[in-house]
Amino acid sequence: MKILVCISHVPDTTSKINFTEGDTKFDTNGVQFVINPNDEFGLTRAMWFKEKQGATVHVANVGGPETEPTLRKALAIGADEAIRINTVATDGYSVAKQLANVAKEGGYDLVIGGRESIDYNGGMVPGMIAQLTGANFINTCIGLEVEGNNATAVREMDGGKETLKTTLPLVIGGQKGLVEESDLRIPNMRGIMQARSKPLHVKEAVDISNETASIQFEKPAPKGAVKLVDNVEDLVNLLHNEAKAI
């Protein structure tokens, strides 16, 4: 089985979010970039397929040279090869077109993406890849088994979960549950050394188009101070009369 894991390179969850150039660009100053958490769960599941079922695992990112350390980290965790599609990705649809092209050319059986990237929160890239390549698609995927050409997946839905049956080629939008938090791996020295000599291919982008364009960013208005009360009666009254929340 050939697996492609799509890796979004995102600011660490503790990052302060600021903008520059008249609020038109994300300010990367002092920001630590990491593998998107949803993708880390997917990558770890892919490692399981590699170790238990002999799968080959490639990782891909659409982005500039600054994303290479994130791809190297994925190689250190155990991916076999990395691909960077060299373009500044600014819209989910255009990212999906690049990755769909890689998926088709590489003949991958399974494409693992995340439910959403924690930066732009698009939640669209994996579904678009599936639709563009004609693969089956399962979103909010919290469990995945593959046997030959058949896959069984569990998906989270509003108020519960459901078990689904499908076939390869398959694209998933994954999240925690694919593996547990405790299964995540921190690259060790050997992995880091090996990652240095693993292939990282740089490909030029195809068919660049932008269906959407971010014009300007804005930060939420600062919040007013909390109202502290010292008894539950006042709280209930405030929630009823002032906040009108009960």
Binding site: I17, G92, Q131, N136, E156, E162, V226, L235, A243
Partner: protein, 320 residues
């Protein structure tokens, strides 16, 4: 020309987010000088959508669509959009809407923006405001394609009443159903889900152990609320993963969010920030959550929560 809205229902009844989505679609239709068409799958009394501004409802009843099937649902909405010559398609932020949206975007070759928090700022260029960076910022984004898809954030617009008369029309498009089949569904039907709840009661590590969740459940039941928890609580198996809220868990956009024994880490807050009113109960006055909350009590949850339950019972009996 029209604005098309996909309306979600459960057991035949429209969800509140469907009513909100129709209200929002009507707002866009007024800006564009056109009408709202809704598409409803296996729902009853579909003409009631007129009350929120729909002029027409395309109605589909089909037993084979009883289980949600993203490919099939996306193809239905796509066919409806073509038939109605829709300029804008409105979806919501439910898990199912977000499953359909990317498939639909490719089918219609349409730009898609999720988590939209208000009516478009302008119709031409078509510019919307949506949350990014897990609610830490907003982006003003232009959708440049002829057909545009917007995913409305929950509780961002509200349900607005109109007195439009909706005509209904049976709709039976060609459906492509793909190759994903439901084997089994595991859904607690008696519990309010975090996605649907107006009120969410959430517990953190401050509650010490799973045996102490009785009072959280009781508080939730008095309020008709859903229960939720912080990430470590689900990681330790005190509560199911489905209750984990935050940046890497479920988002919460309820009217009221009550956090008990939760410190208010940045990743937790990112996921619950779009709730309207936030209440925190924590015995540490320095807990970061107090900076993000609207109301707070500094105190021991094991004392405060039982008192709050009693007070609320009293309140409910007086305001029933």
């Amino acid at each position: 020309m029209s604005v098309l809205v996909y309306t979600e229902s459960d057991g035949g009844k429209f969800k509140k987010i469907a009513q909100e989505a129709v209200s929002y679609a009507k707002g866009i239709a007024d800006m564009l000088g056109t009408n709202v068409t809704a598409v409803a799958i296996n729902a009853e009394n579909v003409s009631e959508l007129g009350a929120f501004g729909a002029s027409k409802v395309l109605e589909l009843s089909n037993d084979s669509l009883k289980n949600f099937n993203a490919e099939a649902y996306a193809s239905i909405v796509a066919e409806a959009a073509k038939k109605e010559n829709a300029q804008v398609v409105v979806l919501t932020s439910s898990i199912n809407s977000k499953f359909i949206a990317p498939l639909l975007a490719v089918k219609l070759d349409a730009g898609y923006v999720p988590n939209v928090v208000s009516l478009p700022e302008s119709a031409s260029p078509f510019k919307v405001k949506h949350s990014v960076f897990s609610n830490k910022a907003f982006s003003h984004t232009e959708i440049k394609t002829d057909t545009k898809i917007v995913g409305l954030a929950k509780n961002a617009f509200g349900v607005k009443e109109h007195n439009t008369t909706a005509t209904t029309e049976a709709f039976s498009p060609e459906i492509s159903s793909g190759n994903v089949e439901v084997v089994s569904v595991d859904k607690a039907t008696d519990k309010i889900t975090i996605a649907d709840a107006e009120i969410v009661v959430s517990g953190g590590r401050g509650l010490k152990g799973p045996e102490n969740w009785g009072m959280i459940e009781e508080l939730a039941s008095v309020l008709g609320a859903a229960t939720a928890c912080s990430k470590p609580v689900s990681d330790m198996g005190w509560r199911p993963h489905s209750e984990h809220v935050g940046q890497t868990g479920k988002p919460v956009a309820s009217n009221l969010y009550i956090a008990i024994g939760i410190s208010g880490a940045i990743q937790h807050l990112a996921g619950i920030n779009s709730s309207k009113v936030k209440v925190v109960i924590n015995n540490d006055p320095e807990a970061p959550f107090f900076k993000a909350a609207d109301y707070g009590i500094v105190g021991d949850a094991f004392e405060i929560v039982p008192q709050l339950i009693e007070k609320l019972k009293e309140f409910k009996s007086q305001n029933a």
